[in-house]
């Protein structure tokens, strides 16, 4: 080999510098931050206004009609649920397989999981005709002995999403405890009070670390089947029906692959943004971006493969409704969305195969946005055409949502952005203790000669990382 393998992270970074860099990202928002936050809040306000209209008037203003009982709300719901999967992939799956390159970038991905779930969870509620009765889906004990219909995938949805949301919030919080202790020790005022409560008396003792490791591993193991099941259940909303284009056996893996795909693309987007705005060049390094991009590429190919399987099985299955629908998707009124989806989802990811492009941040930023556009279109293509062209030809109709519907969908991006922006200023978006771990392990593997050159920040193995209890 002529080229020296580039390092994922500079193992000579001092631990104190890691603390300083990450803590610095949490203070003094620049004007750009406030402007972005204001834009996000304005988007949420528009959505709230639209929802107010919908709440008082009915579902009519959203332009929903007889064949299109579901539309963009459900597409957006599937999109946001999908977005939530990459955090679990990075934080739990890669944790289990000891891929330590995840360490500098998993925290914000995990936050993304939680916030996109909080966004996704709103949509099934928003789209209800009688929102005020939404709790009827839950199996609470009532005087009349009325239960929800346990055969309905929508009830499974309610269980799956609430379980996944609470588990991933807990996972995010537990994983942050040592970092919160660092924050506690380095802040004053309301932050100090907040972190004191949240760090749960963390002093970094051996016992605490042992317990922490156990619970973190346990939660990672718990979260992985949840992540797979939650999107399989979302796919059951469609696959359990008898509608052409929905009743497809490959839907659960297809949805999970699509979920990981859009999640990885979103990680790239946020990676670039955080790297640029928080000057995290030393932690969110180019080799890490390369690894993320390769992962995204692999998942993109899985997604493409599952798409081809779906097309082939529909084509050779000779179910007339399914086949006609597939042809209508490719040539009918939704053709431009269908082909944009295939271009963005299956052709564009080949840019990730080129090393030069993988290392070019502006390109990666734009590409990742287009990948997610493709994934949004994918969800649209799952929901809308089936309703437009199902069994009954008399009810065939093409519908594009009204301003009310789109306002709520765009507002969801504002809602997500708002939550994420608040998160990055209140909580460390890079895991300090795990970066220290990574640096430490990398340094160890350098060998004796390098060990001798260590600064006193890297003490012997028994040293605990993070939250050095003062």
């Amino acid at each position: 080999m002529t080229m020296v393998t580039e390092k994922d992270i500079n193992e000579q970074i001092a631990w104190a510098k890691i603390n300083t860099d990450v803590l610095k990202s949490m203070e003094n928002p620049r004007p750009a931050y406030w402007i972005t936050l204001a834009v996000c809040i304005a988007m949420v306000a528009c959505a709230a206004l639209a929802e107010y209209i919908q709440y008082t008037v009915g579902m009519g203003p959203a332009n929903l009609n007889n064949p299109h009982m579901w539309d963009m709300y459900i597409a957006a719901f599937v999109f946001w649920i999908g977005m939530s999967h990459s955090g679990t992939l990075l934080s739990a799956i890669l944790h289990l397989i000891h891929a330590d390159w995840r360490k500098p970038i998993y925290r914000f991905a995990e936050a993304m999981t939680t916030f996109s779930l909080m966004t996704a969870g709103l949509f099934p509620i928003i789209h209800l005709g009688r929102v005020w009765n939404m709790y009827w889906v839950l199996p609470y004990v009532s005087d009349r002995g009325i239960w929800p219909n346990f055969r309905s995938p929508l009830v499974w949805d309610a269980f799956a999403i609430s379980t996944y949301l609470s588990a991933s919030m807990l996972f995010l919080f537990v994983g942050m405890i040592p970092d919160l202790a660092i924050c506690r020790d380095n802040t004053t005022g309301w932050r100090k009070r907040l972190y004191t409560i949240l760090s749960l008396g963390w002093i970094g003792s051996d016992q605490q670390w042992r317990n922490f490791r156990k619970i973190y591993l346990l939660m990672a193991c718990f979260l992985i089947p949840l992540a797979v099941s939650v999107h399989s259940i979302v796919s059951a909303d469609f696959a359990m029906s008898i509608m052409p284009g929905w009743h497809i056996t490959t839907f659960p893996p297809y949805f999970v692959a699509g979920a990981l795909y859009s999640g990885c693309a979103a990680i790239i987007t946020l990676f670039v943004l955080l790297r640029y705005f928080f000057r995290f060049e030393e932690y969110m390094t180019l080799p890490l971006m390369e690894k993320t991009a390769k992962l995204t590429f692999a998942i993109a190919m899985v997604w493409t493969y599952l798409n081809l399987i779906e097309f082939a099985s529909v084509w050779y299955g000779h179910d007339i409704y399914n086949k006609e629908l597939l042809i209508a998707k490719a040539t009918g009124p939704y053709a431009w969305i269908f082909w944009t989806m295939l271009f963005c989802g299956s052709v564009l990811p080949f840019t990730l195969a080129f090393k030069n492009l993988r290392r070019h941040m502006p390109t990666m930023f734009v590409v990742s946005l287009f990948l997610n556009l493709g994934m949004f279109f994918e969800r649209w293509m799952i929901v809308a055409p089936t309703l437009s062209m199902s069994h009954e030809p008399h009810q065939w109709d093409v519908m594009y949502g009204s301003i009310v519907e789109w306002a709520i969908v765009f507002g969801s991006f504002g809602w997500f952005g708002m939550l994420f922006l608040i998160f990055v200023k209140v909580f460390p978006s890079v895991s300090m203790y795990e970066v220290k771990e990574m640096v430490f392990h990398r340094k160890q593997s350098l060998g004796e000669e390098d060990l001798a050159r260590m600064t006193d920040h890297a003490k012997p193995v028994t040293q605990t990382t993070g939250g050095e209890g003062t």
């Binding site: 579902m59 007889n66 579901w70 789209h127 209800l128 005709g129 009688r130």
Partner: protein, 280 residues
């Protein structure tokens, strides 16, 4: 849905639609619609509006596809009709088919739609939360959603006086559909019960069947051996719970009976008699 119920009736619940499902039916209300007699006059649809308090949504919302016509006349121009437009289009009165294995029922998250011992798909308006999954899973697309509150716009004073008192007016956010005029069925059943006798054939008549000028719609109980509708179903060899061949496969011009989307195996309760065209 108590535990006792599940334990005691487990083997019944395991029965598929082919074995009659897990229902102990008292009646199986059904229809036979002779398309040869249908002239597409929309009287049935109008009668349905009057009987079931259906809101008239207006032109704009109708064009948006938000109409509430439980009974609709579908108009088709097949190849033959296009070649001979003087013969007119084909008409298909379409309403809820009250499927025996209804796809709308299992998907409702709150069990607002369920199967009655009468063989009907009941819709409980008060229980409905408007997730609209039932409509999405209906191959016939005969479920209608209250996208707005129509009470004031559709029945301005004094028109609310003409509302049918036997049936509620639904508010926004609720799914509704053809009930086979369940209020009429209940009235007749109650009367028969008071008089301690079975329900007679022809005693229950739906609004659409009553209004049809050509008597294209026959309504009755298929469990009543002597009923008109049962005779028609038998005559055209349409059976419940049995996968039907289409009328083309029967190779008998007299057997015109078919059920729509038979291949989906949802066991509809409406049999249509194919329209016979003269060869031109």
């Amino acid at each position: 849905m108590s535990l006792d119920n599940i334990l005691n009736h487990w083997s019944d619940y395991r029965k598929g639609a082919e074995e009659g499902g897990h229902h102990n039916y008292e009646h199986r209300w059904a229809m036979a619609i002779n398309l040869d007699l249908c002239i597409g006059c929309n009287a049935c649809s109008t009668a349905c509006y009057a009987e079931n308090n259906l809101p008239v949504v207006g032109k704009e919302k109708f064009e948006k596809g938000q109409a509430m016509h439980w009974m609709r006349i579908e108009r088709y121009w097949d190849q033959q009709e296009l070649e001979h437009p003087e013969q007119g289009a084909s008409f298909l009165p379409m309403m809820c088919q009250q499927c025996g294995a209804a796809t709308c029922e299992p998907v409702c998250p709150v069990a607002a739609t369920y199967h009655t011992p009468d063989g009907l798909n009941a819709q409980v308006y008060n229980r409905c939360i408007g997730s609209r999954y039932c409509s999405n899973n209906c191959p016939f697309r005969v479920r209608y959603f209250n996208f707005y509150s129509y009470y004031e716009s559709s029945w301005p004073e004094p028109m609310e006086q003409q509302l049918n008192p036997d049936i509620s007016v639904r508010d926004k956010g609720v799914m509704e559909k053809c009930t086979f005029c369940v209020q009429r069925i209940r009235t007749v059943k109650d009367k028969a019960f008071m008089e301690d006798r079975p329900v007679q054939d022809g005693e229950v008549i739906t609004a659409c069947a009553q209004a049809c000028p050509t008597s294209a719609i026959v309504f009755g109980d298929t469990m009543d051996e002597g009923s008109m509708v049962n005779k028609l179903w038998k005559k055209h060899q349409v059976e419940r719970g049995v996968y039907q061949k289409t009328q083309h496969a029967k190779k008998n011009a007299d057997l015109r009976g078919y059920r729509i989307f038979e291949e989906l195996n949802v066991d509809p309760s409406v049999m249509y008699l194919e329209r016979v065209r003269e060869d031109v």
